[in-house]
């Protein structure tokens, strides 16, 4: 077993070498040479990419940007626009349903000029998570897997890439990368990890024997097919066993958290998911994804969004405070993303329909300067009016804040070239 672990280290070390070489030759350079004209202006006095970790919050269904982060109080809508409230940053207004975040706007970078080309949930989600439109012939990796493969995890027995809520099958998994970069799926944040306890009737010794037997059975197969993909599966077993016996498992136990902290996050699954995300990041997990569905408000948009917005307002406020107070917000990038926005027009069910042409996302922390709004939509909120941000651009920005090599070409097993954010160009001026 020890030998196996060493082997694992070898592999990650090679990756590490590879990565650092690229990182030095690639992304970082713009920052060392001051502000070249073309490098969409980055002054050294402002922030710099600082992120080590990502908490990726995904609002599935398509968040209505018009009723949350990009309200249009002047627009005339037969059901009335949402009222706006001032924030603690002069000149930025948010929907009245986000009172908590309005008080923390100095931490938020709101991107109001997102634009997508995919108007259906499946393809929109796929595009958002991978920067590529879905293709029948290949599965593209998500950012968590890219981070694991290019930079590796912090040295802990916990997995480096965790997905909370949603479904284990959602796109943005390991794609064509190795299996061990896939996110560990936690369905219910309250229950933590399933199947992690040793069976009561199996003693440690027996467990060891069984594992050895399994290894023995695999031996000839491994010798015959000594490929990365195959050993990758073996690594997963080793990591699972390490995890079972680890002290770090406490990170998954929300009851270890004091009552007043749990209260701030609230009692919803989403709140608990975000609390778990913070605990995991504190314990060295580098990429945590928290999913919250229900934003597909085709019916009765205003009433539904009000409920949803108050929930994310409470949870995100708690998360931002919590990370900020602990000094983690600087090196943890909180991303709030969704697949598309919702239409300015109200349909006959008092709902809003899919609207990929314009929507909003949030970046918080990780070196991103808070208290700014990037881009704008037209007066109805239907089209991007300035500084359009494509989904590859958005994902490239996340990668940039982590210091990942955006231009590095990675070959899929079938020999096709890919980069982690397709042709995306990071928004360096956000930092």
């Amino acid at each position: 077993m020890d030998d196996d672990l060493k082997k694992l280290d070898d592999l990650s070390r090679r990756k590490f070498l590879n990565y650092t070489a690229r990182a030095l030759l690639g992304v970082g350079l713009a920052s060392t040479t001051g502000a070249p004209l073309w490098a969409n202006v980055m002054s050294p006095t402002k922030g710099r990419p600082n992120a080590r970790n990502v908490i990726y919050i995904y609002l599935a269904g398509g968040m209505s940007h018009l009723d949350t982060f990009d309200p249009k109080p002047q627009a005339d809508s037969q059901y009335g626009p949402v009222n706006v409230i001032p924030t603690n940053v002069a000149g930025i207004q948010l929907s009245e349903w986000l009172p908590g975040l309005a008080q923390r706007a100095n931490h938020l970078a709101i991107i109001r000029s997102m634009t997508s080309t995919q108007g259906a949930h499946e393809s929109g989600t796929y595009f958002m998570r991978t920067s590529y439109a879905p293709r029948g012939t290949i599965q593209h990796p998500g950012l968590g897997a890219w981070l694991m493969s290019m930079s590796g995890k912090t040295n802990t027995t916990l997995p480096g890439n965790v997905r909370i809520g949603g479904s284990a099958q959602l796109p943005g998994r390991e794609g064509f990368l190795e299996k061990r970069y896939a996110p560990l799926f936690v369905g219910n944040p309250d229950k933590g990890l399933n199947h992690i306890k040793q069976h009561g009737r199996v003693s440690d010794e027996e467990m060891q024997e069984r594992l050895e037997l399994a290894q023995l059975m695999d031996l000839s197969f491994h010798q015959k097919y000594n490929s990365k993909q195959i050993t990758s599966y073996g690594d997963m077993y080793d990591e699972a066993i390490k995890l079972m016996t680890s002290q770090d498992l406490d990170a998954f136990n929300l009851r270890k958290e004091p009552g007043h902290v749990r209260e701030r996050y609230g009692n919803s699954q989403f709140g608990k998911g975000c609390l778990l995300a913070r605990r995991l990041v504190e314990s060295g997990v580098r990429y945590v994804e928290v999913n919250r569905g229900g934003w597909d408000t085709h019916n009765d948009n205003h009433r539904q969004v009000e409920v949803l917005a108050y929930e994310i307002d409470q949870v995100l406020s708690a998360l931002v405070d919590d990370l900020y107070w602990r000094g983690l917000l600087d090196e943890t990038l909180v991303v709030v993303a969704t697949e598309f926005g919702r239409s300015p027009g109200i349909n006959r069910n008092q709902g809003r329909d899919h609207h990929p042409a314009a929507f909003s996302t949030l970046l918080i922390g990780g070196g991103v300067q808070g208290g700014q709004v990037f881009g704008a939509t037209d007066e109805r909120g239907g089209e991007v009016a300035e500084k359009a941000v494509t989904i590859p651009d958005f994902n490239a920005t996340i990668a940039y804040s982590l210091g990942l090599p955006i231009e590095q070409v990675v070959m899929s097993p079938s020999g096709r070239p890919f980069t982690l954010a397709d042709k995306g160009e990071p928004l360096r001026m956000l930092f």
């Binding site: 280290d9 070390r13 590490f16 070498l17 650092t20 070489a21 990182a23 030095l24 030759l25 970082g28 350079l29 713009a30 920052s31 060392t32 040479t33 001051g34 502000a35 070249p36 004209l37 073309w38 490098a39 969409n40 990419p49 080590r52 293709r135 029948g136 012939t137 290949i138 930079s151 590796g152 995890k153 912090t154 040295n155 802990t156 002290q247 770090d248 004091p258 009552g259 007043h260 209260e263 314990s283 060295g284 900020y324 107070w325 602990r326 000094g327 600087d330 070196g367 500084k387 359009a388 804040s401 982590l402 210091g403 231009e407 079938s414 020999g415 096709r416 070239p417 042709k423 160009e425």
Partner: protein, 449 residues
């Protein structure tokens, strides 16, 4: 509307059909006794040839769709050209066949044989280049081992020439036209081909994308070759011509401006800031030192800033031995700017020896056993801007010591035992420092059940 691009992947399935039909055609040509079975031959060929041609055309169309969505246009150039010539040759062969059937003549027969043979060759070449794309360049070597040595020789040659050109580019002088050329682009092009608009999917403000080109799939700037650069080609088109740039009522570029752009691209087409940037070399020594730390169980990495500085995270180690860590950290002293030493019970000398790392900018000590007295030993860290003391036993006097650090801008005090009043006073005194967090006294009381 039927969207070809969605079904590009069908190319990979459909391509087998014309190949199968073509084999059938060849089999009939070779195996069928023409004198005995002229009628059968005519009927069979009359079906097979058009069918083969039709499926070939379909395959090519799907191939275009696949190339547009999943592949780099240049990478598939060979495959595309072979495929197209195959279709043209087969089409001509089919025409000759019908010509011969319409009015039997030897010229048609001969031409038919020639075109069919050539289309066979083109098909083989297309198939091979396609297989190389899908299965990698080693596709034949694996089946035919004797080819391997050949390929290795070619690879060696390639790498040799590559390193030669790399040497050259290192010594290349800065491009004298860069500033002027960029000013022209900035004044006339970047408004529409920049961050805000990206017309035609093309951006000129980012060097990488300016070279790659836009939706036309033609390279925008080919260093050294202005005539192949779409940017120049479009700018030189006469006013009113399809695709001429700048479009509409805007004034075209003057001949002088075009000349500048041409000379700029001829000289390499570097963007401002690019020519001066020295290729940051990966320092193998640093990598080795980081490796040594990883072997200890620490996380060690370069910072995301790309300036060769490093960060080390000791917070997830199981009871680390500081002496050992220190010997491994020592060689990195000049580069270590970010140290995470949280969650640990450090030996007393740890805090004293932190002065050996004068470059430190970010220091995590949350949940550690740091005391007020230890903080006094940090005074040597003149660049320290981030200090995390959350959940430690630090008191007000310790905070005052910490706040004396000259470069400090962020101080985290969440969960330490200081009165809220004292914290607010410190905040008022040090408005340049962001003192973040709640003191334990501000935590809501737990309800006792």
């Amino acid at each position: 509307m039927f969207d070809w691009n969605t079904y590009g992947a069908l190319h990979l399935v459909l391509l087998h059909v014309p190949i199968g039909l073509f084999v059938g055609i060849l089999a009939l040509e070779v195996g069928l006794n023409r004198e005995k079975h002229q009628e059968t031959y005519d009927t069979a060929m009359g079906v097979l040839l058009p069918l083969c041609l039709l499926t070939s055309i379909l395959t090519v169309r799907f191939g275009y769709a696949l190339a547009e969505t999943d592949y780099n246009w240049e990478d598939v150039a060979d495959h595309r050209q072979f495929g197209l010539s195959y279709v043209y040759l087969l089409g001509t062969a089919t025409l000759c066949f019908w010509w011969n059937r319409w009015r039997e003549n030897n010229a048609a027969k001969g031409l038919y044989a020639v075109f069919l043979s050539f289309s066979f060759i083109a098909l083989i070449l297309t198939g091979h280049s396609g297989a190389t794309l899908t299965h990698g360049p080693a596709v034949l070597d694996d089946a035919l081992p004797f080819l391997k040595d050949n390929r290795r020789a070619i690879e060696e040659q390639n790498s040799a020439t590559q390193s030669d050109s790399a040497k050259q580019s290192n010594t290349a002088p800065a491009n004298p036209f860069t500033t002027e050329a960029y000013a022209i682009l900035d004044a006339h092009c970047i408004e529409c081909h920049g961050l805000n608009k990206r017309k035609g999917g093309y951006r000129i403000d980012v060097p990488r994308l300016a070279r790659a080109g836009g939706d036309s799939h033609k390279p925008g700037i080919v260093p050294g070759k202005p005539d192949e650069s779409e940017l120049i080609i479009r700018a030189e088109l006469p006013k009113g011509e399809e695709g001429a740039m700048p479009p509409g009522k805007r004034a075209p570029l003057t001949p002088e401006q075009l000349a500048v752009l041409r000379s700029w691209i001829e000289a390499g087409g570097q963007f401002p800031g690019e020519a001066t940037k020295t290729e940051a070399k990966l320092d193998p020594k640093t990598v080795k030192q980081l490796d040594a730390l990883r072997d200890l169980g620490a996380a060690a990495d370069f910072t995301p800033w790309g300036d060769g500085t490093v960060l080390v995270n000791l917070s997830q180690m199981e009871s680390p031995d500081w002496k050992l860590c220190h010997t491994k950290l020592k060689p990195l002293a000049g580069k270590l700017v970010w140290l995470n030493a949280a969650n640990q019970k450090w030996q007393p000398e740890f805090y004293a020896q932190l002065k050996n790392f004068p470059q430190l900018q970010r220091l995590h000590l949350e949940n550690s056993n740091v005391t007020d007295a230890d903080l006094a030993k940090l005074a040597m860290l003149k660049d320290l801007s981030y200090l995390n003391l959350s959940s430690t036993k630090i008191t007000e006097s310790g905070l005052k010591t910490a706040l004396a650090l000259p470069a400090l801008t962020e101080l985290y005090v969440h969960g330490i035992d200081v009165t809220p009043k004292a914290l607010n006073e410190l905040r008022a005194q040090h408005d340049a420092v962001d003192i973040a967090g709640l003191s334990v006294k501000e935590f809501p009381k737990e309800e006792k059940k």
